[in-house]
């Protein structure tokens, strides 16, 4: 057997696991590992400019490809800088491996230089973690880490490695295990057939059904089957913020996103439904609003791979634990065999009612009359010039909601956003990860001038690796989402949400980093300038679009209400 050092074993194990790329930043505790990286050319290392960006880039890569993202950081500050990105991935169930250096085993517990208890710090935000004790354990630990991160409900796994474990002077026999078995970890696969039967009967007998689906359908590769199911039944579909793209947004059965900033028709249809089939969605508070008032007349059928997600907030009438694919396949089969047929009369009435709600046109954009750009118009233009086929990563704020509402995703894995943790600073590094995964694709980051400044340093990474990411900044000169809440709930007292006097010149900034910057201030020049920017296929272009700073995101759920309770504009509520 080949003899390798711990550092070499680690990189070799990553390669044997099929890893093509890792995102990282060096430091003392990982220098042996960096030397091992230097001495090979199978696993590419991308040098970011801040460890948080490494995690978000790996996350973006994972969301776009479905393969786990891999991060390498040093001990202490390197590890703590990665924490926000780990939590972001954890909340959205993204498969990720974070390898952190640790001080020498002999120094652990002594408050050594750059020592921090990474396993302890990350404990509540990982699916699992390992501290490697012996170099010989590295291949098995890596195998286990990938297995845990990518199966069941995916999530981040931390591997903490003391420096002495990667010592290049000490070599050990290396072989990579074909598979691992963990007696304490099992992955639910097929759902309970009896339960699925029960669900199918209820679903077929429904008079006002709705399919409510989340990120689990994207992660679980269930989009094609979901589409088949929905079209077979002819039922309306709504997606969560995390689930966008799981069902083609341009299809007539799609009601748009639901929840806090969901469409009027999606939220109304949820509220007045008699059967809700929730798939890979977790009935979170941004969707349900008041649990007590949630879908009062509906039976809840809930499919999820994570038993703990079922009946956590809303009690399910028919809980089904299983992978999306296996459950949907079985449902389709059972529908074929069932004696019960869809009640087409009732369904027709239901659609009539839904069409009535649709007519409200809750996402209607009223143009300004003075050539001022409405933020929604930027997304509409983006959608047009990219033919709806770009990878869109987003940051957090109003711009995120506008992107979710106005970019109609027809395919899964195209919409890359931090839904669960809501991490400002996520979008740009995530767009880098997407671009690295798909060099020829159009990778767009929709951002705000606030969020962008949280990982602005990655402009340098994009220069180094020639990543032609397109940054569309909806510049409202404020922390817009905060300001909106202050408008609505705090009498317009803008406590620390504005900074128009101190914004950088983003065009010059982009240029300083060796990129192209474009500023757009008038609606009349929006389309042309954006088209020009996107025509620069091999350049990063920062498109700074000055938008109406007073715009709010609507519809918006009324706090403490039911899903039907919405504010529709500055002057109208349901």
């Amino acid at each position: 057997m080949e003899l390798l050092s711990g550092g070499d074993m680690l990189i070799r194990a990553l390669h044997d696991e099929g890893v093509e790329m890792i995102y990282g930043y060096p430091g003392g505790a990982v220098l042996h590992i960096y030397d091992a990286i230097f001495n090979q050319d199978k696993v590419e290392h991308i040098l970011v400019r801040h460890e948080q960006a490494a995690t978000h880039a790996a996350d973006g890569y994972a969301r776009a490809t479905g393969r786990p993202g891999v991060v390498l950081v040093t001990s202490g500050p390197g590890a703590t800088n990665a924490v926000t990105g780990i939590a972001t991935a954890f909340m959205d169930s993204i498969p990720m491996i974070v390898i952190s250096g640790q001080v020498d085993s002999s120094l652990i517990g002594s408050d050594g230089f750059q020592e921090t208890d990474m396993v302890g710090i990350s404990r509540p935000i990982v699916k699992h973690s390992f501290m490697v004790q012996n170099p010989e354990d590295i291949p098995t630990v890596v195998k286990k880490a990938f297995y845990i991160a990518t199966t069941g409900r995916p999530g981040p796994v931390v591997i903490d490695i003391p420096k002495d474990v990667t010592d290049p002077a000490k070599k050990y026999p290396y072989s990579y295990p074909e598979s691992v078995k963990l007696r304490s970890y099992s992955v639910p696969s097929k759902g309970h057939t009896g339960q699925i039967k029960k669900a199918v009967e209820i679903l077929l007998a429904a008079k006002r059904p709705i399919l409510y689906t989340g990120g689990g359908v994207v992660q679980g590769e269930g989009s094609a089957l979901l589409t088949q199911l929905a079209q077979k039944l002819g039922y309306p579909v709504t997606n969560t913020l995390m689930g966008l793209g799981a069902y083609p947004a341009t299809d007539k059965q799609f009601l748009g996103m639901l929840g806090m900033h969901g469409t009027y028709e999606a939220n109304m249809a949820m509220h007045f439904s008699d059967v809700v089939l929730g798939i890979g969605a977790r009935f979170d508070d941004r969707v349900t609003n008041s649990i007590a008032k949630f879908c009062p007349g509906a039976k809840i059928l809930h499919v999820d791979i994570d038993p703990a997600s079922i009946s956590k907030t809303v009690a399910a009438d028919v809980p089904i634990v299983g992978s999306v694919v296996s459950v949907l396949e079985e449902m389709l089969e059972l529908i074929k065999l069932s004696e019960t047929k869809v009640d087409s009369k009732a369904l027709e009435l239901w659609w009539k009612q839904i069409e009535g709600w649709r007519e409200k046109d809750s996402l209607k954009v009223i143009p300004a009359d003075n050539d001022v750009i409405k933020p929604q118009q930027v997304i509409q233009t983006l959608y047009d010039i990219t033919n709806g086929d770009a990878y869109v990563s987003s940051d957090v704020g109003q711009h995120q909601m506008f992107a979710a509402q106005y970019y109609h995703f027809d395919k899964p894995r195209r919409w890359i956003n931090s839904g669960g943790l809501g991490t400002m600073g996520f979008g740009f590094p995530a767009a880098m990860g997407v671009q690295l995964a798909f060099p020829d694709a159009v990778s767009v980051c929709v951002t705000g001038e606030g969020s962008f400044q949280m990982n602005i340093q990655e402009l340098a990474t994009c220069l180094q690796y020639q990543l032609p990411v397109k940054i569309v900044c909806l510049n409202n000169q404020a922390l817009g989402m905060v300001k909106q809440w202050q408008d609505m709930q705090y009498g317009g007292r803008y406590s620390h949400s504005t900074y128009s006097e101190s914004l950088p010149d983003f065009v010059k900034l982009a240029e300083a980093y060796g990129h192209v910057g474009v500023r757009i201030e008038k609606l009349s020049e929006l389309k042309q300038k954006m088209t020009e920017a996107f025509a620069m296929k091999d350049r990063l272009v920062f498109i700074d679009v000055l938008v109406d700073p007073m715009e709010h995101v609507y519809p918006m759920a009324i706090k403490g209400g039911a899903m039907k309770d919405m504010i529709l504009s500055k002057t109208e509520r349901t």
Binding site: R123, M131, S184, P307, A308
Partner: protein
């Protein structure tokens, strides 16, 4: 309602902190906790008593089961079970109280395991409720120290918790 959850846990570093962390992170409370290796040295057995309605206990057991280090668990309170706790209690024992304490300890089948001219150390085994009643029964006595182990338990009959 009070529940006793018994867990077989991988005997790995950090495993216990994951279990305890889960309780604090999700705002579940731990009334008592015992942990020790089993006859199989790769496994620890951990017993937690906690309080909650059915919904909450269901969430707790689901989340515990999700922890990679948790091999198996059982809610002992779901069926017939035996629970025991051990208490060492050190009390002031002088004058007429010496006899009275001894008599009470006998009634509770306790043993005086250490004696000085002014102090008894008593060992008592039983359900937590029994230990509580003993403390109530010697209410006039000055208690110097109480050390309780927390609850341990097994199901009655054939039912076992093993891998």
């Amino acid at each position: 309602m009070r529940h006793i959850i018994s867990i077989l846990l991988e005997n790995e570093p950090g495993a216990l902190s994951r279990v305890v962390g889960l309780f604090s992170q999700r705002n579940y409370n731990i009334e008592s906790l015992t942990v020790a290796p089993t006859d199989d040295h790769t496994l620890s057995r951990l017993t937690i008593t906690t309080v909650g309605d059915d919904r909450k206990i269901e969430q707790i057991t689901k989340h515990l089961n999700k922890l990679v280090d948790v091999v198996k668990l059982v809610d002992l309170t779901e069926g017939a079970h035996i629970e025991r706790e051990l208490m060492l209690i050190k009390v002031k024992a002088t004058g007429s109280q010496r006899d009275e304490i001894k008599r009470t300890a006998d009634i509770f089948r306790g043993q005086i395991v250490d004696v000085t001219s002014t102090i008894y150390s008593i060992q008592l085994v039983g359900t937590s409720a029994k230990l509580d009643s003993f403390i109530a029964a010697i209410s006039g006595v000055t208690i110097l120290e109480v050390a309780r182990t927390g609850v341990s338990g097994v199901s009655r009959g054939e039912k076992v918790l093993s891998v």
